[in-house]
Subunit: 436 residues, 2 copies
């Protein structure tokens, strides 16, 4: 049986590792995709910078063009996988104003110009699909936007950067040092030659902005996301965490909380201690996972490959089929909602639990002094463990303090007071504890 | 700012543990749901069997009625949480033919009369939403139907019954016996007084039929699902699995495979050995998880609460908001596709790996005889471990054989031949190994 389907014109901008796989899958699974979309998805052109550049898959030469503009006005659906802000932003605004639906995997663009794109889409009743931008192949956009639409998300804890998870996981498993594992990760292709975007948390911060915007119906600009990377995580810190029953993960944390009597959100990316029996602790290698706590649904977790050309292409094709179905079914796309527009707290107003590791003089009264400074700073102690530092000539002890939930600015000021108290020899580390 | 929304009339059929939570959330979060749906969702009535029955939440008495019929014709959206086949089936067909969208959590109904409901919806351009029927609060329907629409699902391994997972998990953690844990689970409310639907795998089989239908675009009738429960799983079996690095889980297995050169699917529910480092092995207590292997996306897992009134209500409300958005946006609903309609293999044509545990006479030539019978039966040995049974007077040994992938009917015939071979004293267990 052959069905005569309506034809939809699909343009592809960019043919890198994801784009070339999207083109290949579109051409290979033409008939199956037509059945699923209810429309024949005709790839009308692939805009690239260099027609002769080597690619992961074969794309018919006649589809390749260096001139994107004609593709923007004559297409029903435009897929953007170029990355970067310009010309991606101008191209997509042009495509939307011409009435095309847009599919993009461009997290940098969404995290900085998302609202402008969504508004342009709203004006023509088109939609912007971006499953590939949040957590690679893991379906998280539809669950947050649709499945949990009648619920209220309280918190998202997410491992959204494969490179840093790979590095931290190997440090945890092998007791290896950061620099060694990074070098190995670069050799194996898990990390870029310039790893800054990953190890400094920029990539994760973009994804945090996208997830928080969606979960809390709030426009979250990238510069409102507090960001810390993993470059200061060393082997002794991982080892101490392991002994205490924790693993160190780079987390994107998006949470709703009450601040000074008003509802607000906190969005941040930083290394954190996660209990070993938490579902996120078992996310190994370059895998990603998004742990969601919702008021009614309780704890949910979404796990899978966070990157990879063909894996991410799956998310892009899912979006493409959704966009095509909307074209066929009629009606307008589901707009992005920023109707809540909750205030976004600065990092100082965030609250969480902390683990503070100190080297202190091992003499009477020191613990009382430390405890007094914490109490004065409104930081309440949950656990404390003091151990002698073996072989230390200066009679120093190590003090590991786990706090109850405290305000970040209180904690920061308290740690400064500890450092200058005269009884603390060295602040070894201050780590946030998440997921308890 | 108040927005004047269009009103949509919502009827609720059934006010048990899920239904009463749905009613409560609908009334409590009226304004927030209106913002999300783009429509005011007006609960016009709740059909129940007994108006005075005790309920988990307060529902205004004037909304309760024992007469469902008037609600079916005058509503925009009908939510069915009565359970059972009749009158749920007739009510939903009536509602659909009157043009209402339908939200249901009724897995028994979907697994037996799904195609008739979907066809009735198609005829009027309405849609049937059933997120709550597949895995409780876990968003799995939209990921399978939409996010993976451009991909090809190869296999689903799912823990979709909380009661049996709770029982098997406690047996694994405590070394306890099935009957003791079941009794305790009944006392704690994790298992029903009559546990048959759970422990014999009926509930899981219904969910397997729903998941397989969606994943493979094939109408999977409930009686095509092979079903085995956990009543024969005992403490020694769990202990032997534990020692070998496995955990026993009741799995719903839905897989695509090539049989005699044609594409086909196998859908089955049975206890299986799962490697301890597999993501499904860390699903504890009454939690559920759906592990999906897709051609492009690779391995994905969706984890969360598989049951519970308020948790499942979250899935129902998500569906309600989706249905409302469709009403507002216009256009027709995404129909359920059975366009592939792949043949469903009988259990004999399933393929997997097996662990066969035998007690054999401990004398020369026995292993050769056993190996010969396996080879004759086209069952290839991957691993073998022979141990002396301590303190056994009759000089018997225990033989644990792990096979390569074999055809179920070959395996069954081979085990019968082993049992009657004269060298095998007892077939201790035959278990499928999944997820390797």
């Amino acid at each position: 049986m052959t069905t005569e389907y309506r034809r939809l014109r699909v343009a592809l901008l960019g043919a890198g590792s994801v784009g070339s796989q999207v083109a290949a899958l579109l051409l290979q699974h033409e008939a199956e995709l037509a059945d699923r979309a209810g429309a024949h998805l005709e790839l009308v052109g692939v805009a690239v910078r260099d027609i002769d550049a080597p690619r992961d898959t074969d794309i018919p030469r006649e589809l390749l063009t260096t001139d994107a503009e004609p593709l923007l006005v004559g297409s029903d659906i435009v897929i953007e996988l170029m990355g970067g802000i310009e010309p991606a932003r101008s191209y997509l605004l042009q495509a939307l104003s011409a009435g095309a639906d847009v599919v993009t995997g461009n997290k940098a663009l969404l995290a900085t110009h998302g609202p402008a794109l969504f508004e342009a889409a709203d004006q023509v009743g088109a939609s912007v699909h971006y499953e590939a931008a949040a957590a690679g192949a893991i379906p998280i956009i539809r669950p947050l936007r649709d499945s949990l639409a009648g619920d209220r998300v309280q918190r998202i804890l997410a491992i959204v950067n494969g490179t840093t998870n790979y590095i931290l996981d190997r440090m945890d498993l092998e007791g290896a040092d950061y620099a060694d594992v990074l070098a190995d990760a670069q050799r194996l292709g898990y990390a870029e030659a310039d790893p800054t975007a990953d190890v400094e948390g920029y990539d994760a911060a973009q994804k945090a902005a996208i997830l928080a915007s969606l979960a809390f119906h709030t426009a979250v600009p990238l510069d409102a996301v507090h960001r810390e990377g993993i470059t200061s995580v060393d082997a002794p810190l991982i080892e101490a965490a392991r002994k205490a029953g924790y693993v160190v993960k780079l987390l994107a944390v998006c949470e709703r909380r009450t601040d000074d009597g008003r509802e607000a959100i906190s969005v941040r990316v930083h290394p954190a201690l996660v209990r070993r029996d938490h579902p996120l602790a078992s996310v190994h290698g370059a895998n990603n996972a998004v742990f969601v706590q919702a008021e009614a649904a309780g704890d949910l977790m979404f796990y899978g490959a966070g990157a990879g050309g063909v894996q991410t292409a799956s998310a892009v094709l899912g979006d493409l089929v959704s966009a095509a179905r909307r074209h066929i079914a009629g009606g307008i796309g589901v707009g992005e909602s920023t109707r809540a527009n909750l205030p976004i707290l600065p990092i100082g107003r965030a609250t969480t639990r902390y683990q503070i590791t100190l080297e202190v003089d091992d003499r009477p009264g020191v613990l009382a002094t430390v405890a007094g400074i914490l109490a004065d700073g409104r930081v309440s102690i949950a656990t404390v463990e003091q151990t002698i530092i073996p072989g230390d000539e200066q009679a120093r002890a190590r003090l590991v303090i786990g706090t109850h939930t405290a305000l970040e600015q209180d904690l920061g000021e308290t740690v400064q007071r500890l450092a200058s108290s005269g009884v603390v020899y060295r602040v070894v580390s201050v780590l946030r504890m998440e997921g308890d």
